[in-house]
């Protein structure tokens, strides 16, 4: 089941039509790693941060901190096939092996750095590894692992830790009339306290003007992304999911210089819009099926999508949790902490009114229904993960509602984010044949019910 090299590559065309504008964005992230490492070697304090949906990213950047995202680093470990020794190290230190792959990789990395390499970066860590943290920024958003594993890192590092918060709810409770106000109040206070803490830690004051500047840039980056997502709805789909996954860090956690990444996203928008005009597809084969991917990709086996592209499977949209929503107008908000609170909260809560109207109790379901309609999906590729419950637990319900409300079928493919040993590409390709027939059938059903795709 290992990936064999494609024979006669020169004769075969590339399956996925990669956007030119994706490459500089990807390089920005890689360069960012190298710059971060360089900066830590020069003594600049490094923060290990969890994805915090921008609550923490912007204050950290405004304070000029060097930030590393272990979750993202773990995907690099997976993609470069180097994750196993770190996963094993985590197991050997007594952590259960059913835990989040990113968590295992980070814990394993920390163990090897501190217990086996005397505090130095493990030599085989790709891209120069992650520097020892001076601060750990955990987050309770999305899942328990994300704050529990940082808490567990006290075993290896004496670095102080902070845990950021974000409420998570079901539709009914999430649309209570007074909820927004007291949630924003809560988040604003937390962010304020967090910034006070950073000031104490770094012995310098927050540069509020800089923070405001970054918030403006953040809004612009997100607006641009939103436009790209809208443009991606075209038929044929102009941008394949793999391009998104390769270029998302600058919008997901504002990796790199935000002025630079804003420009690069604007370039990407232009390129996508150009493709739409020319009806150019994200794959180099005729688009036979428009597929939505949920939720987290198999970082270790991204080349696998080439085989599906050759069958005309165009992955037109993916991973709602990695995107942003259209940014809200924050001009009437004065307090920058409140701005951040509203900015971050908006991503999770903006779907609630629609979910309430449609009487859908799980907001993730409503999000994917909206996506399926917007992108005129033929099928869902559901990828539940053995180590990530949070990103997998709603998938059954999404599957049911997509079938029930929109007659869109789903292909269920189990795997893991990091551990490639549990993913079986041959099996998927075999199932794909049958699934095409299912998708053909439901196309007819949808048409018969008056839907236009």
């Amino acid at each position: 089941m290992s990936e064999t090299a494609t024979p006669a590559k020169t004769e075969k065309k590339r399956a996925i039509n990669r956007l030119k504008s994706m490459y500089p964005l990807r390089n920005l992230v890689q360069q960012d790693y190298i710059d971060t490492l360089q900066a830590s070697n020069e003594g600049k304090p490094t923060v290990w941060s969890m994805l915090n949906y921008w609550e923490g990213d912007l204050p950290l950047k405004a304070m000029g901190l060097n930030i590393v995202y272990p979750e993202n680093y773990a995907t690099l470990l997976a993609a470069s096939g180097a994750a196993e020794p770190f996963l094993d190290a985590s197991d050997s230190d007594g952590f259960p092996n059913h835990m989040c792959g990113y968590g295992r990789a980070t814990i394993g990395y920390s163990y090897r750095m501190m217990k086996e390499n005397g505090g130095k970066i493990p030599p085989e860590a790709p891209l120069g590894g992650m520097a020892k943290p001076a601060l750990l920024l955990g987050s309770g958003i999305i899942c328990d692992a994300r704050f529990k594993w940082f808490q567990a890192l006290a075993r290896y590092f004496d670095a102080p830790e902070w845990c950021l918060e974000m409420p998570m709810m079901a539709t009914f409770e999430g649309t209570e009339p007074d909820l927004e106000e007291y949630q924003v109040k809560f988040l604003t206070r937390e962010i304020k306290d967090f910034i006070e803490f950073l000031e104490k830690l770094l012995k310098k004051k927050m540069d509020w003007a800089r923070l405001e500047e970054l918030i403006v840039l953040a809004t612009q980056i997100h607006e641009t992304n939103y436009q790209i997502n809208e443009a991606r709805k075209a038929i044929p789909g102009p941008m394949h999911s793999t391009d998104f996954w390769s270029s998302m860090p600058p919008s997901l956690f504002f990796a790199g210089d935000m002025k630079v990444s804003l420009k690069l996203y604007q370039d990407m928008l232009a390129e996508v819009q150009e493709r739409v005009k020319n009806k150019e597809s994200g794959i180099n084969y005729p688009e036979r099926y428009r597929i939505i991917f949920a939720e987290l990709p198999p970082w270790h086996s991204l080349k696998f999508f080439d085989s599906l592209a050759e069958k005309g499977w165009n992955f037109v949209f993916e991973s709602f949790g990695y995107h942003n929503t259209r940014p809200i107008d924050l001009s009437k908000v004065n307090d920058p902490c409140e701005k951040l609170a509203r900015f971050a909260r908006n991503f999770w809560f903006n779907i609630f009114p629609e979910a309430k109207k449609d009487n859908i109790s799980n907001p993730v379901v409503e999000t994917y229904l909206k996506i399926a309609r917007g992108f005129k999906a033929d099928g869902f590729f559901m990828h539940p993960l053995i180590s990530c419950r949070a990103a997998s637990c709603s998938l059954r319900t999404v599957q049911h509602f997509e079938q029930e409300k929109l007659d869109i079928p789903s292909l269920w493919v189990e795997g893991d984010i990091i551990d490639k040993r549990v993913f079986n590409p041959q099996e998927v390709l075999a199932k794909a044949e049958a699934f095409e027939q299912t998708m053909d059938h439901y196309r007819k059903v949808r048409k018969s019910k008056g839907l236009d795709w």
């Binding site: 952590f95 259960p96 567990a152 006290a154 009914f172 909820l179 109790s361 799980n362 637990c393």
Partner: protein, 390 residues
Amino acid sequence: MVIATTKGLSRAHEIYTDRGLRVRELRKAGKKIVGYVCLYPPVEIISALGLVPFRVFGDMSEPITAADQVSITVVCPFLRSIIDLGLKGKFNFLDGIVGAHTCDIGMTLIISWRDYVKDAPFTHLIDVPHTDHAPAVDYFEGQINSFKRHIEEFAGEKLTDDKLKKACELHNKQRKLVRELYDLRKSDPPLLTSIENVEVLIAISSLPVDEGNELLEDVIREIKSRSIKPPRKKARLLVWGPVFDNTSLYQLIENADANVVIDDTCVGTRAFWADVKAPYNLHALAQRYLVDIKCPRTYRDSCHQELERNYDKDLDSRFNYIKKAITDWKVNGAILQSVKYCDTHGYEVPNLRHYLDTLGIPSIYIEHDYSERSLAPIKTRVEAFLETLD
């Protein structure tokens, strides 16, 4: 009025075996039964409004046959069992179910219940912040208030300060009685077994608070007046971990020549150790539930705002309540148990074991999938662990 024909430990056993026994009777008599999952829904509010709180558990002996239609398999088997039972109509005596965002899957459970289960049509999900910071406590108070408003509608009456005070006092009384029950295991040998203890605690969680208090008083009296004392065993153990609502594990341990004298689980001490403090208002509830309950799902920030996180200090701050239990109950070994796929507890294990090491308490970690057959391999490990305590 229905008079219970059995009393004390027999009554506890009766209800442990058929947990809906009493609430079904009450429902027939016109009472509304509100189920709750986990420790974070404030039962005081439920009781104060004249409703009967009923703690919802899974069933270890029921094979999971329906849950896979709505849930992926790699999730907490205890919660999977609950949704499985819900789908099969086994909770048809509930008028409502309340859950809290105590863990990812705990939250998903209530959402799925809403989508797929017909029984218990009143549902509510309380969001619980992850930390115990001051702004979090205030936010949680807001959530409790939202819950209060919703359940007032359902109950058809308003919550008054007086009703809430009375309910807090009754529930605090129950906690005090439970602590008295636990005191009976401080002696060597303990005056009751952990099996009896679990049955009593499950029973009171399946009864209205006043009936639970009566049962506890009967049980304590009964135990104190027993002439036959249980045998002395060399090992005095603490059992730690998430909910284990079945006597089978305790049976297994006690058969292997050990006494479980205290626990840190949510069937046991986590549920009953902390009282609601005066004034008995929503803020006091928020404080009790978010801050005073010691469960790994809450990030108890030992070094909040500090510029360094000292490992030993952090561990001590998080776990010194266990140290106290070990000292007061003269514990000489610990069994850490958890279900497969529980992240909340899984991440704690190496650090907790390290802490126990520093206290000189040997420990073993066992993982199971909340099914009776998963206990067989555990038997050997527990026995071998006890053999190392020689």
